[in-house]
């Protein structure tokens, strides 16, 4: 788009890039806000159905589809309260820190090939790192609220999220190793073709890694059964006890944004990203990359695919939330330190050895290298034959 502005409209480069950045930011913001609205509504409906009730039914005519918007208006109209002893500036800043972290992580996140705010060659690293910043907002909120319950929530959040980033990082490193790149676009492209080429089915180790990733992802975004930072039966509402109105809704949006992000990340890392289980586009002969319309159509299809997978992940999180009791803090830490971390490390080692011993997989014909399907789209030579040792070395450093 920037190129278009520079060449066709002859705008100066700085203006063109600024406009592009703004458009991308607005689009991403809308994806998060709109997504949060839909997911909050979905959560209400799903929770309702799981609990033998109807959920919202009237707002907006049918199915209560306007419920989240009505909630939003209610939150806007609420009195903005701040406790007497609170640290004013930090108290005000905290929700935005949380939200910004969740929002910024989307910048490097590809919704389809080329549907991306800014493609980074360390996309995975960027997303995980920025998502990790969300915890600062929570800690700030807990510290600045001048409430003991908030402080407990923040302490728990700090302990939990920081611990779970370790196994989460290890899990993320496995697909990175298999793809030989930290670029999210490349990782997704490597899984093109039938669903058998998804990293989830790459080898038994990645299959296990996927489930460890799911556990750690739920824990790192503070969803039940790991929602200790806001455990309502113990800590009233944890870190956001003292928040109300719009500020509170920023925490809420950040939560849903992160939920969506980790689910979408799982889709890209393990479930083929925008590649559907069946390569519809290539069967139809659309994936040649010859005509612009065909390309656009394929990407749109891919985006729907990715959003579908991410939504499935979010729905699974909701299902888990409304079914399971909450763990205790020591049990949460034990799950991380005693099970997830060693298991993830072992699986990482296993996947590495598998990659060396059986680079083509157990059944060689089953997994078609991505290069065959979308040759010409990838920057530089791709394919499964890429040397492993060199990339694995780089990757280990990042994981550690």
């Amino acid at each position: 788009m920037a190129d278009f502005l520079i060449t066709t409209l002859e705008l100066p480069a700085w203006l063109a890039w600024s406009i592009t950045a703004m458009v991308a930011a607005v689009l991403i913001l809308n994806v998060i806000a709109g997504g949060a609205l839909v997911f909050i509504w979905a959560e209400r409906k799903i929770a309702g159905r799981i609990q033998d009730r109807l959920g919202p039914t009237r707002t907006g005519g049918k199915f209560g589809w306007l419920q989240s918007l009505a909630d939003g208006i209610k939150l806007l109209a609420k009195e903005d309260l701040m406790p007497d002893g609170a640290d004013g500036m930090l108290f005000r800043i905290a929700p935005y820190v949380s939200f910004c972290a969740s929002f910024c992580a989307f910048i490097a996140f590809p919704f389809a090939f080329d549907f991306i705010g800014q493609r980074l060659n360390v996309g995975v690293f960027f997303v995980i790192a920025v998502l990790g910043l969300e915890v600062f907002g929570v800690i700030l909120a807990g510290y600045a609220s001048a409430s003991k319950w908030s402080l407990f929530g923040a302490m728990r959040e700090a302990a939990q999220v920081v611990s779970y980033e370790v196994p989460l990082g290890m899990c993320v490193v496995v697909p990175v190793m298999l793809a030989g790149s930290m670029d999210l676009v490349t990782i997704a492209e490597k899984q093109g073709g039938w669903f058998t080429s998804w990293f989830l089915f790459h080898d038994p180790f990645t299959f296990v890694v996927f489930w460890i990733y799911v556990t750690c992802a739920i824990a790192s975004v503070n969803r039940a059964p790991f929602d200790l930072a806001e455990a309502e039966s113990e800590l009233v509402a944890g870190f956001h006890t003292e928040y109300s109105g719009l500020r509170w809704s920023y925490f809420f949006m950040a939560e849903y944004g992160s939920m969506f992000l980790v689910s979408a990340l799982a889709a890209i890392l393990f479930m083929g990203g925008w590649n559907g289980p069946v390569p519809v586009a290539s069967i139809l002969g659309l994936s040649e990359g010859t005509s612009d319309t065909a390309n656009y159509f394929v990407r749109l299809l891919g985006m729907i695919n990715l959003l579908g997978k991410a939504t499935l992940g979010v729905l699974a999180m909701m299902w888990i939330r409304w079914t399971l009791p909450r763990l205790r803090i020591d049990q949460v830490m034990a799950t991380c330190l005693k099970y997830c971390t060693p298991l993830a490390a072992a699986m990482f080692l296993g996947a590495m050895l598998w990659q060396i011993a059986l680079p083509g997989g157990l059944v060689p014909g089953l997994r078609r290298p991505a290069a065959e399907i979308r040759e010409g789209w990838l920057p530089g030579p791709g394919g499964a034959a890429r040397s492993v040792g060199e990339d694995a070395g780089t990757v280990v450093k990042v994981g550690a």
Binding site: D52, R53, W149, E234, R326, R328
Partner: protein, 402 residues
């Protein structure tokens, strides 16, 4: 201070220690079951001391009892344990009847058993659902309330109220059952029976639930007896006592001919008359899991009793009999009677000077004694265990404060 830190290593050690913090849990807290206030002394996540503060719901019910007649006091008993108001009515009614040496008709006796046991199911459903809530799972709570609603519907048909019934009264019951009620009750039981397995799947045998409750808040037999605990809390510690079997004659006579086995672990196992899930390996007798499990067993036990009561009640052809007059004089003297309410042994003490108005009305609450043991159980546990322990005691503040 700084120069001291340089010299003495012990002071540095002391300085590293985290501060203790006093935290108020309640009276406005989501998991304190009403207006209970717990003052926690915490060191990080570890709770070193818990002190329950009560009195936020005090309504002078006992003093009011000295100004109204015995039958007029029935609605006040409703508001003691409002989750099991029928059992409260029954306790007071039986205490007055004991003083009056009054014998209700056979039909009224079976109807009382039916109603009281049905209310026990409702009360335990709330206890079970709210316990899930304390542990952070929301759905079982609504599954429990869904079934409780059906019991409340039945009660509404019988007496017109859904929470404060005043149905059982001195000298019998205020009204007989409407036609078709027994069939509806039977079909409810039919429909409810398989659902208990759902509760077991979601809570009793759930791995996280077991992790959160097994070996937490272990109350030894001796401790339970020392603190005067009763009901499922006492039986959860393995003490074989149930007022329906071991109580005074006027109360046990009500259950005469009814077959039921007290839900308590004897010789290492629970009564085996139904298909219950196995006790998890981690669970220790007297912990939160056992207290919860005893309640679940009592739901099934009460269902059995309700079924037996339906049979006996419909076999009774005699009249139900009218309750005593509102102003019926009581003989001078006193009477104390403990009944087995869902929460434990609820005692009513009544002193009469010969008029219809008691000279002294006194209630002995089971929740009060059960709550008193909190500070023993919560010593050294984690913050998350406090709701788990208090929830497993299943206290009702209306009964504690009266």
């Amino acid at each position: 201070m700084a120069h001291l830190l340089d010299d003495d290593p012990r002071i540095i050690e002391f300085d590293v220690r985290t501060d203790e913090m006093l935290v108020n849990m309640g009276p406005q807290h989501p998991s304190t079951h009403g207006v209970l206030r717990l003052v926690l002394r915490t060191d990080g996540e570890v709770v070193s001391e818990v002190e329950p503060h009560i009195g936020y719901l005090h309504r002078c019910a006992e003093k009011i009892g000295e100004n109204i007649t015995h039958r007029q006091f029935i609605p006040y008993t409703d508001r003691m344990d409002y989750l099991a108001a029928m059992n409260m009515n029954l306790g007071w009614a039986l205490a007055v009847e004991k003083l009056m040496k009054y014998q209700v008709s056979e039909r009224a006796r079976h109807l009382r058993v039916l109603i009281a046991e049905l209310n026990r199911i409702a009360s335990h459903l709330v206890g079970m659902g709210a316990y899930g809530l304390d542990l952070g799972t929301f759905s079982p709570f609504l599954y429990a309330f869904r079934e409780r609603e059906k019991i409340l519907d039945l009660f509404e048909e019988a007496c017109g109220a859904r929470l404060t019934y005043s149905y059982i009264t001195v000298g019998g019951l205020t009204a007989d059952l409407p036609t078709g009620w027994l069939q509806r009750c039977e079909s409810f039981l039919e429909q409810f029976e398989p659902i208990i397995q759902e509760y077991h799947a979601l809570l009793t045998t759930n791995a996280i639930f077991v992790k959160r409750t097994a070996n937490i808040g272990v109350m030894s037999r001796e401790l339970a007896i020392d603190y005067g605990c009763s009901g499922p809390v006492l039986r959860g510690s393995g003490v074989d006592q149930d007022m329906r079997r071991d109580g005074e004659a006027i109360y046990t006579a009500m259950y005469e001919g009814y077959a039921f086995e007290v839900a308590v672990m004897k010789d290492g196992h629970y009564p085996r008359d139904h298909d219950y899930p196995a006790v998890p390996a981690d669970a220790v007798l007297g912990d939160c899991w056992h207290r919860f499990f005893v309640r679940m067993l009592e739901v099934v036990q009460s269902m059995d009793l309700v079924r037996q009561a339906i049979d006996r009640y419909s076999a009774c052809k005699g009249p139900l009999g009218d309750p005593v007059k509102l102003t019926e004089k009581m003989p001078a003297g006193d009477a104390y009677l403990e009944t087995e309410c869902p929460k434990g042994q609820m005692g009513f003490y009544i002193v009469s000077d010969g008029s219809a108005i008691p000279w002294r009305a006194r209630a002995r609450s089971s929740s009060f004694s059960n709550l008193a043991v909190t500070h023993e159980l919560c010593r050294g546990c984690l913050i998350a265990d406090v709701p788990a322990i208090v929830g497993s005691l299943d206290v009702v503040m209306g009964e504690i404060d009266r």
